[in-house]
């Protein structure tokens, strides 16, 4: 792992440190680090690990950049809102250090993929925002014998520890389960979206995580293993607490190995208290449509999403105790909601003990889920069909409409045309298309949604003919736009294949002599 001329210049300030020098820098170049979570903690960790020259960095995050991320997630700006964090991070970091190899994983870390992902790396950084993933990372790191740097934050305080580390005497050090053998009930452990967080805090803790990774790789200083650091940004207090390895807790991590796929981390971290009724956004919408008697209660104090559900009463969580008696007197159904569905769960838990929870519901996933469902509804209401052939003038107009969208760098356009095939001595004069349109529209919407998930697209329009289309006329028009050509070309190929294979449309060829031939695909 020799360093080239550019690298020697780039890493000059490291190379002149006797503790790092050429050996340390080469060790960094050889190292492979997987950063799980590219949010508040992940952003600073990634910036400094990239700058430090870690040779291979994997970034796992299924989320897309949101406006409420920007105050602390320093890798992103407004132009990345809506893009996958892992991909936006790779693009930014490539510019920061072109000497390293970066890989984006836009899927959620799960028991199904954790083995493959983690086994490819030497060190893992836990920069996630939820307990199921924290326990999942712990268990796979224990199983695969990888050290991991755990960081977590809450409002003004942060925790940091290097876990499952093997010291230079070969001793195994504590794991996350040694620190916290049992996950907290979800409503007792709110995350940043519910509780808030001061923007600089993940900056501080994330940098400390990067520092521990670098120390571990270079073998310098004292690794924060067997200890947990608590930092308080309000009084600058840093306290270290020593922890012991607990073999029983370690065995808990391994008890499902190697059959981790059957272990449900979500339910392991879910509540054991009295069951709360959940209502999905789909079901709530149905109830509202049917004019069922429902009382909606919005418990947000400062809403993240400017959405009001019909006839909702707003009672912020802190005022709930004093106001709740007026609401629950009658026996109509009550639905509590907030932005993410956690504070509303806490609200229901705060109801007096004698309260019968039979008619009380929590909107699962909160307004995030509601908005997603709303989007799905508008998508399935969308009509992708055009009666008869698609007019080239219409195609031209669609292209013209996009000239005002300045973030587009490439359009891919696919036109399917009716071909004059020859069958048993007769030519095809046209094709008559028929479809069960509701079902087909849903299939089109699903293709569209999946394409937006998978590719970085700005626009995607699909039009298909129904009824008779003559030879030489256009019956399928797909139009996708992206910032760059490669993305739009690759996406187009896949979208057209999906349309051909997944949308139930039947074709009847009409021959020159008016005889017909059903096309089997």
């Amino acid at each position: 792992m020799n360093l080239n001329k550019e690298e020697i210049q780039y890493y000059h300030r490291h190379l002149i440190l006797p503790q790092i020098g050429k050996t340390g820098q080469q060790a960094l170049k050889k190292a492979k680090v997987l950063v799980i979570g590219a949010g508040g903690l992940g952003c600073p960790t990634l910036m400094y690990l990239s700058g430090a020259g870690v040779g291979r960095i994997g970034i796992v995050d299924p989320d897309k950049v949101a406006v409420s991320n920007l105050h602390r997630q320093v890798l992103y700006g407004f132009s990345q809102v809506g893009k996958f964090k892992a991909e936006a991070a790779v693009n930014r970091l490539k510019d920061l250090n072109p000497n390293i190899f970066l890989k984006a994983y836009t899927q959620r870390l799960s028991p199904e993929n954790a083995f493959d992902l983690i086994s490819q790396y030497d060190v893992v950084v836990d920069a996630t925002d939820n307990f199921p993933t924290r326990y999942l990372i712990n268990d796979f790191c224990v199983y695969l014998n990888k050290p991991f740097v755990s960081g977590s934050i809450d409002r003004f305080q942060g925790q940091l520890s290097v876990l499952n580390f093997t010291d230079n005497q070969g001793n195994k050090c504590p794991t996350y389960r040694c620190l916290y053998p049992k996950p907290p009930a979800p409503e007792t452990a709110p995350d940043c979206a519910q509780n808030g967080v001061i923007g600089v805090l993940p900056g501080i803790i994330g940098n400390l995580q990067a520092n521990e990774v670098i120390k571990m790789i270079c073998g310098v200083g004292e690794v924060l293993s067997g200890k947990v650091l608590m930092f308080d940004a309000l009084n600058n207090q840093m306290m270290l607490f020593s922890i012991q390895r607990n073999e029983q807790a370690v065995q808990q991590a391994l008890q499902n190995a190697p059959d981790f796929e059957s272990f449900n981390y979500e339910s392991f971290c879910s509540s054991s208290q009295q069951k709360i009724n959940e209502i999905s956004a789909v079901d709530l919408h149905k109830k509202l449509q049917n004019n069922e008697k429902l009382q909606l209660i919005d418990v947000r104090s400062i809403p993240e999403f400017q959405v009001e559900l019909p006839n909702a009463i707003r009672i912020p969580l802190n005022n709930l105790q004093t106001n709740i008696h007026n609401i629950l007197k009658n026996d109509s159904q009550v639905v509590f909601y907030c932005d993410h569905g956690i504070n509303s769960t806490r609200a229901i838990r705060m109801l007096p003990n004698h309260q019968n929870l039979k008619n009380v519901f929590n909107l699962t996933g909160g307004l995030v889920a509601w908005l997603k469902e709303e989007k799905n509804r508008t998508m399935s209401a969308r009509n992708y069909f055009i009666q008869g052939a698609i007019d080239p003038v219409f195609i031209g107009e669609q292209i013209a409409k996009h000239s005002s969208k300045h973030d587009i760098g490439a359009h891919s356009i696919f036109l399917g045309q009716v071909r004059a095939d020859e069958k048993v001595g007769k030519h095809v004069a046209g094709i008559e298309y028929s479809a069960y349109e509701d079902m087909a529209n849903q299939a089109f919407s699903k293709i569209r949604e999946e394409a937006f998930e998978q590719w970085s697209l700005n626009c995607l329009h699909i039009y298909h003919s129904t009824g008779l289309v003559k030879t030489g006329e256009v019956s399928l028009f797909v139009f996708c736009s992206s910032g760059h050509r490669k993305e739009s070309i690759k996406a187009m190929e896949q979208i057209v294949e999906c349309v051909k294979h997944k949308v139930p449309i039947w074709k009847k060829e009409i021959m020159e002599d008016k005889s017909v031939h059903w096309v089997q695909e």
Partner: protein, 77 residues
């Protein structure tokens, strides 16, 4: 004898302050039940307790002026 107890994260909300002094407590078990008597909501929470910066188990003996920290796990990232 007395011990000082410091609360972190969400637990300082449950207790309503960051720090408390508890009188006449002999070991961690006893301290825990005293805390839960005063703050019943604590029983729903997950946390570890450290005495003089060392995580300890429930039977650990307490001495005058010991400093106890109560640490919940944090979710956020």
């Amino acid at each position: 004898m007395q011990v000082n107890v410091i609360f972190f994260g969400v637990l300082s909300d449950v207790v309503g302050k960051n720090m408390l002094t508890i009188q006449d407590t002999v070991n961690m078990n006893d301290l825990k039940s005293k805390l839960i008597t005063n703050y019943p909501d604590l029983k729903d929470y997950t946390y570890r307790m450290a005495v003089n910066q060392q995580m300890v188990e429930d039977n650990y003996l307490l001495f005058d002026n010991d400093s106890v920290a109560v640490l919940p796990p944090f979710a956020g990232g």
